[in-house]
C-alpha cells in the first residue's frame, strides 16, 4: 500500500463529494437502482445463496450445533429466571426452614448453600449477570478493538504509530490485571465490570483487525477509490469496515467465553456486585465458607460447570463461524 496517498485524497479534497457514490464498492450496488438490470435482485439472490451455503456448513458441524443448543438453553433460563424461580427464592429471610448445605437430592436438585438457598435458583439468576456481562463486555471490546485496529492499519505516521504502541501495551499486559485495577477503583457494580473487561480486552481484536486492514488496504479497489478521490472516512467505513466485519463477528463469539471467565474471576476476587447473583459470586461465597475443604462439593461444582458449558458452547459456535469465514482453517 502506498502510504502517502491518503494525504492527497484528504477529506477536504473537492472531488470528495461525488467520489464516494461513484466509486462505491460492489456491495453498494443495490442503491444504484438501475431499472435496466435488476442489480438489487441479483445481490439478494447471491446473499440468499451464501446464507444457505453457510447454514449448511454450520449444520454439518456437530459440536457447533450442540453449542448452539446449550447457548439457547442458558439464554432461555436466564431470560425466564424470574418466571421459573421468583426472586423471593433468593431471599435469605424466606429460607429459614430450608436445610443448609443440603446435598443434591430430589427435593433440592442441585443442593442448597450456606443460607439455605437452592443452588439451581442461584445458577438460574447467575446466568443473567454472567451472560449479560460476557456479551456486553465483548461488544464493548469489539467496538474499541475494531476502531483501534482500523486506525492502526489505515493511518500511517505518528498517529498510527501511537495507536500501535497502545495496542502493544494492552497485548503485553494481561487484561485481567488491568481489569482488577479498574474495577477496584471504580464504584462496584455490574456496569463497572463490563467497562473494566471491555476497556482492557480489546487488544487482540485490534491486532486481528489491523492485519486484515493492512491486507485489504493493499488491494486495487482501495487504490482505485483513493484515486477517484475518496477520503479517509469513505475508505474506512465503506471499504475497510465491511471487509473486517466478518472477522470481527467470528471473533466476538470466541471472545464472549473469555469475558465470562473474566467476569467470574473479578467477582471471585470480590470486585463484582455482591447484591447480584453471578456464577463468580457464587464461587466467591463458596470459598468464603470453605466449601471446597468442607465437602460441600455441589457448592463448588455447579457454578463452575455452568461456566464451563457456556464458555465451551460459545467457543464451539465461534469456531464454526470462523471456519465459515475463513476456509483456510477448515482443513485443521
Amino acid at each position: 500500500m502506498s502510504a502517502d496517498t491518503p494525504a492527497e485524497a484528504g477529506p477536504g479534497s473537492p472531488s470528495n463529494g461525488p467520489g464516494p457514490r461513484g466509486s462505491g464498492p460492489r456491495g453498494a450496488a443495490p442503491r444504484g437502482a438501475n431499472p435496466a438490470v435488476d442489480g438489487a435482485k441479483l445481490v439478494r439472490e447471491r446473499r440468499l445463496n451464501n446464507a444457505k451455503k453457510n447454514w449448511a456448513l454450520f449444520r454439518s458441524d456437530v459440536p457447533a450445533l450442540i453449542g448452539a443448543v446449550v447457548l439457547l438453553f442458558f439464554v432461555v433460563i436466564a431470560v425466564a429466571a424470574p418466571l421459573i424461580a421468583p426472586a423471593t427464592m433468593l431471599d435469605v429471610t424466606k429460607q429459614l426452614d430450608v436445610p443448609r448445605y443440603a446435598p443434591p437430592s430430589l427435593d433440592h436438585p442441585l443442593g442448597t448453600d450456606d443460607l439455605g438457598r437452592e443452588m439451581w435458583v442461584r445458577i438460574l439468576w447467575g446466568a443473567r449477570v454472567s451472560i449479560l456481562v460476557g456479551v456486553a463486555a465483548t461488544v464493548m471490546s469489539m467496538v474499541i478493538g475494531t476502531i483501534m485496529g482500523l486506525a492502526a492499519g489505515h493511518f500511517t505516521g505518528l498517529f498510527g504509530g501511537i495507536i500501535m504502541r497502545l495496542i502493544d501495551f494492552f497485548i503485553v499486559l494481561p487484561s485481567l490485571l488491568l481489569a482488577i485495577v479498574l474495577s477496584s477503583v471504580l464504584e462496584r457494580g455490574v456496569f463497572t465490570i463490563v467497562v473494566a473487561i471491555g476497556l482492557t480486552s480489546w487488544a487482540s481484536t485490534a491486532r486481528i483487525v489491523r492485519s486484515q486492514t493492512l491486507s485489504v488496504e493493499s488491494r486495487l479497489y482501495i487504490e482505485r477509490a483513493r484515486i477517484l478521490g475518496a477520503g479517509h472516512r469513505h475508505i474506512l467505513f465503506r471499504h475497510l469496515l465491511p471487509a473486517v466485519m466478518p472477522l470481527v463477528l467470528a471473533n466476538t463469539t470466541l471472545t464472549v467465553g473469555g469475558a465470562i471467565i473474566a467476569e467470574s474471576t473479578l467477582s471471585f476476587l470480590g470486585l463484582g456486585d455482591t447484591s447480584k447473583e453471578s456464577w463468580g459470586t457464587i464461587l466467591k461465597n463458596s470459598m468464603d465458607v470453605s466449601a471446597a475443604t468442607s465437602g460441600y462439593w455441589w457448592y463448588v461444582l455447579t457454578p463452575g460447570i455452568a461456566i464451563l458449558l457456556v464458555v465451551l458452547a460459545f467457543t464451539m459456535v465461534g469456531r464454526a463461524f470462523e471456519a465459515i469465514i475463513n476456509p483456510a482453517l477448515r482443513s485443521r
Binding site: S204, G304, R332
Partner: protein
C-alpha cells in the same frame, strides 16, 4: 476478552510476533506476519520468506545491528513501563475520588483529623506535585505505605515476591515443556486419537476459570483425600532450607502449580500445534524424508526447531497470563505471594498496596517480554544475521 490468558484463537497464534516483535515503528508495513486471515492479500507476497519464522517484518533485512535492535526493544519496553506508571497514578489517585473521605465515611473523624490524614498522604498538594512525588517515590523504590498492613509497600512486596516467582516460575517451566511436547506430537499425528484427546482436553481447560480448577483440586486432594496440604507454603515451624522443609514446600507447591499449568499448558499446546502444522507442508521436510531420515528424526531435527521459533515469542507473551492467573490461584491456596497480597489489597481496599502490586506485576511482565524479544533474536538466525 481475549485475555491473553484466554485466547481461543489458534490461528491468531500463527501471527507470532505481531505482539511484541512488531513494535509498531512502521505500522504501514503490510507485510505483517502471516496473519493475513483470509489468506489473500498481495501484500504478503512481498515477504518472500513468509514462513511464520520470518516474523519480524518491520525488521529491515539488511542493516540494524544487534545494538539497534536491542535499543528499539528497550525503548518499547520503557514506553510500556512509563504507561504503566502513569496509569498507576491516574487509576489509583484520580479515579477513586478522595481516599481520605472514604476512610472518614467509615469511621467518625474530626475535620482536623481529616486534614492531618490528607497531609499525611500528600493529598493537600496540587495534582502535579503529587505526580512528581509519586515518580520520585517509584524511582527511589518508595511505593507508599499500605493502609492495612501499616508497612511500607515496597517492603511488603519484597517479602512476598519470592514465593510468587517460585510458583509462577515452576508453573511456567512445566507448562512450556508439557505444552510444547504434547503440541508437537498432536500436530505430527494430526487427527489421531491422541490429537483429538489432547486438543479437546486443552479446550476444556481453556474454558474454565483458573481459580475454579484450583478449587476442584483443593476439594479432591486437599479436602476429600487429604493427600496434600490445603494452603500456605510451608508447615509453620519448619526450616525452609532443611531437607524436610524443601519436601514440605514441594508438597505445598503441587496443587497451585497444577492449577496454573492446567490452564496455561493448553494454550502452549495449541500454539505449538498450529505452528508445527504450518511447517508440515514445507518442502524441506520432503527433502529430509527423501534423504531417508525416519519420521521421528524429521520431526525432531527439522520440523520442530523451525516451529519453535514463532512459538517462543507467543509463549513469552502468555507468561503475563500466567501471572494474572497466579492472583486467583494464590488466593485459593493462601500462597503467600504477590497474588495473595493483591487479593488482600482488593479486600481492604488498600489502594497503595494494590498500586504497588500492579506496578511490580507489570514490570515483571514487561521485562519477560523484553527477554523474549532478545532470546528470539538469538534463536532465529534470520533475524540475527540481519
Amino acid at each position: 476478552m481475549s485475555t491473553p490468558t484466554h485466547d481461543p484463537h489458534p490461528e491468531d497464534r500463527r501471527t507470532p510476533g505481531t505482539g511484541s516483535a512488531n513494535p509498531g515503528t512502521d505500522p504501514a508495513d503490510p507485510t505483517s506476519p502471516g496473519s493475513d486471515p483470509a489468506g489473500q492479500g498481495p501484500a504478503s507476497a512481498r515477504d518472500s520468506a513468509d514462513a511464520p519464522g520470518a516474523v519480524d517484518a518491520d525488521e529491515p533485512p539488511a542493516g540494524g545491528s544487534f545494538a539497534r535492535y536491542f535499543l528499539r526493544k528497550l525503548g518499547g519496553a520503557a514506553t510500556s513501563m512509563i504507561l504503566v506508571i502513569v496509569l498507576g497514578f491516574f487509576a489509583f489517585r484520580m479515579l477513586p475520588g478522595d481516599p481520605v473521605l472514604k476512610i472518614a465515611k467509615e469511621r467518625p473523624m474530626s475535620p482536623a483529623q481529616i486534614a492531618e490524614l490528607r497531609s499525611q498522604y500528600g493529598l493537600d498538594k496540587p495534582v502535579i506535585v503529587q505526580f512528581w512525588d509519586y515518580l520520585v517515590g517509584i524511582v527511589t523504590g518508595d511505593l507508599g505505605e499500605s493502609y492495612v498492613y501499616r508497612k511500607s509497600v515496597s517492603a511488603l512486596i519484597g517479602e512476598y515476591l519470592g514465593p510468587t516467582l517460585l510458583l509462577t516460575g515452576t508453573a511456567a517451566v512445566i507448562a512450556i515443556v508439557l505444552g510444547l511436547w504434547l503440541g508437537q506430537i498432536s500436530a505430527w499425528r494430526r487427527n489421531s486419537l491422541f490429537d483429538k484427546l489432547a486438543s479437546s482436553t486443552s479446550l476444556i481447560f481453556w474454558s474454565v476459570p483458573t481459580f475454579w480448577l484450583g478449587l476442584i483440586l483443593l476439594m479432591i486432594f486437599g479436602g476429600t483425600l487429604q493427600w496434600l496440604p490445603t494452603g500456605g507454603m510451608i508447615t509453620p515451624g519448619l526450616d525452609p532450607w532443611s531437607f524436610a522443609g524443601i519436601i514440605d514446600v514441594i508438597t505445598h507447591l503441587i496443587l497451585p502449580v497444577v492449577s496454573l499449568v492446567a490452564v496455561v499448558y493448553a494454550q502452549f499446546l495449541m500454539i505449538m500445534r498450529a505452528s508445527l502444522l504450518e511447517e508440515m507442508n514445507e518442502d524441506y521436510l520432503t527433502t529430509a524424508r527423501a534423504k531417508g531420515l525416519t519420521e521421528d528424526e524429521v520431526r525432531r531435527k527439522h520440523a520442530v526447531p523451525n516451529a519453535l521459533l514463532p512459538t517462543v515469542t507467543v509463549v513469552f507473551l502468555h507468561i503475563g497470563g500466567l501471572i494474572a492467573g497466579a492472583v486467583t490461584v494464590e488466593a485459593v491456596f493462601s500462597w503467600p505471594g504477590l497474588g495473595k497480597l493483591t487479593f488482600e489489597a482488593i479486600r481492604g481496599p488498600d489502594l497503595p498496596l494494590l498500586q504497588g502490586t500492579f506496578v511490580v506485576f507489570s514490570a515483571i511482565i514487561i521485562v519477560m517480554n523484553l527477554a523474549a524479544d532478545i532470546v528470539y533474536r538469538f534463536l532465529d538466525p534470520r533475524v540475527r544475521r540481519a
